[in-house]
Every structure is written in structure tokens, then in C-alpha cells.
């Protein structure tokens, strides 16, 4: 992929990020942080590649470590968000 495309994607994603949170209710700030945190663990992709490919043993172990850390985050982040959001379950009327 050429740099311009990547940069375009990056810039546009920044705009989306900007807009998407403008209207968030303050009560949801913490869950939102937890989710974004979980999402930013997409870095796991990098860890997976490092762990998957042969070539450097050190790199492999670093990758595996990164996968562990990111997994903690992913599972923990989503799970904790789910718990927080349970408070906001619409009451039954």
C-alpha cells in the first residue's frame, strides 16, 4: 500500500474518531475508555505476525508475549465493559 493511501486512511479515521465521541453521555465515559482500550489491542495483529513467522526466535517470543498482553486486554476490556453496561440495562416498564 502506498503511503498516501495509508495516510488518507489515517486522517479520515481521525475525523471519524473525533466525531464519534463528541456526543457521548458523561455517564458512559468510563465504559467508552474501556472499549477503546480493548480495541487498541488490535496491536495483537502485530504480535501474531511476529509469533507466527519463523526467522527470529527472540522476535517470536516477543511476539508471543505481546499476544498474551494484548489478549488480557481484549478479553478483560470487553468483559469489564459488558459488566459496566449491565448497569445501564433499560429498565422494564
Amino acid at each position: 500500500m502506498d503511503f498516501i493511501s495509508i495516510l488518507s486512511i489515517f486522517v479520515l479515521a481521525c475525523f471519524v474518531g473525533y466525531y464519534v465521541v463528541w456526543s457521548v453521555t458523561p455517564a458512559l465515559h468510563t465504559p467508552l475508555m474501556a472499549v477503546t482500550n480493548a480495541i487498541s489491542s488490535v496491536i495483537i495483529v502485530g504480535g501474531l505476525i511476529a509469533a507466527a513467522e519463523a526467522g527470529s526466535d527472540v522476535a517470536k517470543w516477543l511476539g508471543l508475549a505481546a499476544v498474551v498482553l494484548a489478549s488480557v486486554n481484549i478479553f478483560g476490556g470487553f468483559a469489564v465493559t459488558e459488566r459496566m453496561l449491565a448497569m445501564y440495562k433499560k429498565k422494564d416498564k
Binding site: 479515521a13 464519534v20 472499549v35 502485530g46 513467522e53 508471543l64 488480557v72
Partner: protein, 463 residues
């Protein structure tokens, strides 16, 4: 990879869902789906030499993550999030190093078998930001969980030190990019170490009150780190997500600062600009911690309530908030919430003071109750909404023989699930001039503002 784009879209939808309580759970699901797509795509599109190890790694991480998430107390959420951030930061550092050590796997080798300069800059940035995120988050975690004093720690000459370290990181990264294949190792090590240090230095001087903003800012950093790695790897999912998290985190910290009436710059600049004075304005007479809420928070909780009891006092009269209050009750009732008014015999400054004002606002008499008739209902109430009352809800009247109000019957607001307390500042007192334990209860949220203004904002925030 189309799949990465799709994952990115799911992430966008996830954040979008989180912007309103009604869609928040669906949003969280979308986040999970996006993550699953990203992970599976990666596994499918690479030849996997170590599938077993990877499986174990994911499983291990998953177990730990879920366990922590289950066990943690709800009140420890902010520190948990900070802790999680540190993991993302560290993961970014590790991935960066892995890429540095095994560039071939990431397709970073140029013709001559070395790594391209652009890739090295991206890599250096990723590692540096990741390291800052890591050490910063560790400090934030320690401060929030009370493992470290929440008060700002001011190093002498910290501004100079910080600037120096930051400059060094930039210079070293540039050198790293330009250096020949054999000379890079010490440079990248130095960058990594200095980044860890600067993360530490940046957060140390920030006080506990500003920590939520810091956490959100670190969140943003972790996004930028992921984006930087995404650039290195040319991975759409990482770029989109990183940019998304980066910008949304930054905006979120900005919004939070605004809500707290703090200057964004002074908070994020942390070590650079933190003013040396302690946080909070209008000192409470005793420095006890209390929760402050916004009109939007109150609006949300009120809408979700089934039974709300409003306790008006002299402050409502001073603010002439009765009309706005009636309007708020109307809106709530239209949403099926039961609203009652609890009038204390000596609320206000003359007998029947509250009655005059509520009648003016045409509040029906059958919604207005005297102390004896309603006091037992607080246990069933979801929200006790105290607007400009103070002495009449002060538990000291029941417990503290030395209090000037001892012996007066008061409302048992502490029995309500949630208490909102509108007054103008923590400094102000009621007629009797005494502090009030209700401010500092767990379930109390202080709404500090003129009563009329606050209620109007609550009405606006409901729809």
C-alpha cells in the same frame, strides 16, 4: 485486506454504539466482532509456524483478562482501565522490537536487506509511544489504586528535564532511521529506555483529581502507538483503529476537562504545565472526597429511575427554580417515572415557604408530602433529588448531640439508592451553618450550580 477494513468498520460502529446508553451494549458486541475478524484474518493469511504457542498465549491472556474483569470491584474501574492501558503500551513496545528483530516477517526489508528509513521512523515512534503509554499508565494505576499518593509530585526543574528527554528521544529516533544496519541496536535501546522514563516523568506531577483525564489521554497514546505500528506493517485495521482510538481518546480527555472546568492544556501537558496549586475550587470545610456529576449524568439516572423523591429547600427559593423543577417532573412523569415532593416542616425561611412556590408552579397537592408521610419511602426510592435543601437532610440531626440541629427530624435520604444534591458550591452551608455528611456518601452525586440553571440543563439533557 478487505477483512481488515471490515474490522475497522466494526470498531467504528463499536465506538458509535458507546455514545448512548441504549446502543452501548450492541456497541460492545461490535467491538468483539471486529477484533475477532482482525485476529482470524491475521492467522488465516499468514503461514503459522507456531499455532500451538499462539493458541496458548491467547488462551492464557484471555483467562487472565476475564478473571480480572470478573473479580474487580466496580469502584476500581478507572484504575483497572489504567492498568490495561499499560499492557497495550507494553505490547506495542514488544511488537516494535519483534519487527526490528525480524523485519522479513513484516515485509520491511528493502532491496539491500536492511530496513527502510521510513519504516524505522515508524517503528521508533511506535516503540516510543508504546513505552510512554506503559510507564505513564503504571503511574496512573498506582495513583488511582492508592498504591502511590494521589497528590502531585513536583520535581524541581522538571520542565527542563522533560524537554531534554523528549528532545533526546526525537534525535535518537532520527539517528536510528539514518544509521547503517550494524549501528541501530544501541540507538533503539536508548529510545526505548528514555521513553519509559519520560512516561514516568510526565504523569508523576499530575494530581489524583485529574487522573481520569490522564487515563483517557494515555488511551489516546495507546491508539497512536497502534497506528504507528500499523504504518510499519501497512495494516489497515491497525491504522484505522489506532487513529480512531487516538483521536477519540484525545477528544474525550478534552470533553472531560471541559466538564470539570479544567484547562485541557494544563492537564495534558502534565509535567510541563501543571499548576502547583491543588485541584478543586471552593474548598469544602473539611477536605473529604465527594463525587461531582453533570446535568447529563443526572438526567440519565433520573430517566432510568422508577421512583424519584424531590426535596426542595431554601436554595430552590433563592434560585426561583420551582418552574424549572415542575417542568423536569413533567418530563419524568411522561416517561413513566413516579415523582413525589417531600416537604420538610422547616424547609425554607418561613412556614409553608416551599408550598407557596410549588403552588405557584402548579404542582398538584397530591404529589406533595410532609415529612412523616414520606420518610419511610426513601428506602424504595431510586433517586432522592435534593434541590437547595441542606439542614433538613443532615443526618447530624439524628446522630450528633453537639450539632446545633440535633433533635430536628430529617429526611432519611441515605436510604435512597442514589442521591443528587444541588447546591452552588461545596463551600456554602445551610441556615445552621454546619457541614453535611450526605455530601460525602457513596451514592451521592453533587450537582454544583445554581439550582435553576442545573435543573434547566437536566431538562435539556433529557429526551
Amino acid at each position: 485486506m478487505l477483512a481488515y477494513l471490515i474490522a475497522g468498520v466494526f470498531f467504528i460502529l463499536a465506538l458509535r454504539g458507546l455514545s448512548s446508553p441504549a446502543t452501548s451494549r450492541a456497541g460492545n458486541r461490535n467491538g468483539m466482532i471486529g477484533m475477532a475478524i482482525a485476529v482470524i484474518t491475521t492467522l488465516v493469511t499468514h503461514d503459522i509456524a507456531n499455532i500451538v504457542e499462539i493458541g496458548i498465549a491467547i488462551f492464557l491472556g484471555g483467562i487472565i483478562g476475564v478473571t480480572i474483569a470478573r473479580k474487580i470491584a466496580m469502584t476500581a474501574m478507572p484504575e483497572l482501565v489504567a492498568g490495561f492501558h499499560s499492557l497495550v503500551g507494553l505490547a506495542a513496545v514488544l511488537v516494535g522490537w519483534a519487527a526490528y528483530l525480524n523485519p522479513g516477517a513484516f515485509g520491511l526489508l528493502t532491496g539491500d536487506g536492511s530496513i527502510g528509513a521510513v519504516s524505522k521512523i515508524e517503528m521508533g515512534l511506535g516503540i516510543a509511544i508504546g513505552a510512554i503509554t506503559f510507564s505513564g499508565s503504571v503511574i496512573a494505576f498506582a495513583k488511582l489504586s492508592g498504591k502511590m499518593s494521589g497528590s502531585p509530585i513536583m520535581l524541581p526543574g522538571r520542565h527542563v528535564i522533560n524537554l531534554g528527554v523528549l528532545g533526546a528521544i526525537i534525535v535518537l529516533t532520527a539517528l536510528f532511521a539514518l544509521a547503517g544496519p550494524g549501528d541501530t541496536m544501541p540507538l533503539i535501546v536508548a529510545v526505548t529506555v528514555l521513553a519509559f522514563v519520560i512516561g514516568f516523568l510526565l504523569i508523576i506531577p499530575i494530581g489524583g483529581a485529574d487522573m481520569p483525564v490522564v487515563v483517557s489521554m494515555l488511551n489516546s497514546y495507546s491508539g497512536w502507538a497502534a497506528a504507528a505500528m500499523g504504518f510499519t506493517l501497512g495494516n489497515t485495521a491497525m491504522i484505522i483503529t489506532g487513529a480512531l482510538v487516538g483521536s477519540s481518546g484525545a477528544i474525550l480527555s478534552y470533553i472531560m476537562c471541559r466538564a470539570m472546568n479544567r484547562s485541557f492544556i494544563s492537564v495534558i501537558a502534565g509535567g510541563f504545565g501543571a499548576d502547583d496549586s491543588g485541584g478543586g475550587k471552593g474548598e469544602p470545610r473539611e477536605q473529604r472526597p465527594y463525587k461531582q456529576g453533570s446535568a447529563a449524568d443526572a438526567a440519565y439516572m433520573l430517566e432510568q429511575a422508577e421512583r424519584v423523591i424531590i426535596i426542595p429547600g431554601y436554595g430552590m427559593a433563592v434560585a426561583q427554580a420551582q418552574h424549572a423543577l415542575r417542568e423536569m417532573a413533567d418530563v419524568l412523569e411522561a416517561k413513566g417515572v413516579e415523582v413525589k415532593y417531600a416537604i420538610h416542616p422547616v424547609a425554607g425561611r418561613m412556614p409553608g415557604h416551599m408550598n407557596v412556590l410549588l403552588a405557584e408552579a402548579s404542582v398538584e397537592y397530591d404529589k406533595v408530602f410532609e415529612l412523616e408521610d414520606i420518610n419511610s419511602e426513601f428506602a424504595q426510592a431510586d433517586v432522592a433529588f435534593i434541590i437547595g435543601a441542606n439542614d433538613v437532610v443532615n443526618p447530624a440531626a439524628k446522630t450528633d448531640k453537639s450539632s446545633p440541629i440535633y433533635g430536628m427530624p430529617v429526611f432519611d435520604v441515605d436510604k435512597a439508592k442514589q442521591v443528587f444534591f444541588i447546591k452552588r458550591s461545596m463551600g456554602g452551608v445551610g441556615y445552621a451553618g454546619v457541614d453535611n455528611d450526605v455530601f460525602y456518601m457513596d451514592q451521592t452525586m453533587m450537582l454544583l450550580s445554581d439550582a435553576k440553571k442545573m435543573v434547566e440543563e437536566i431538562v435539556k439533557a433529557m429526551d
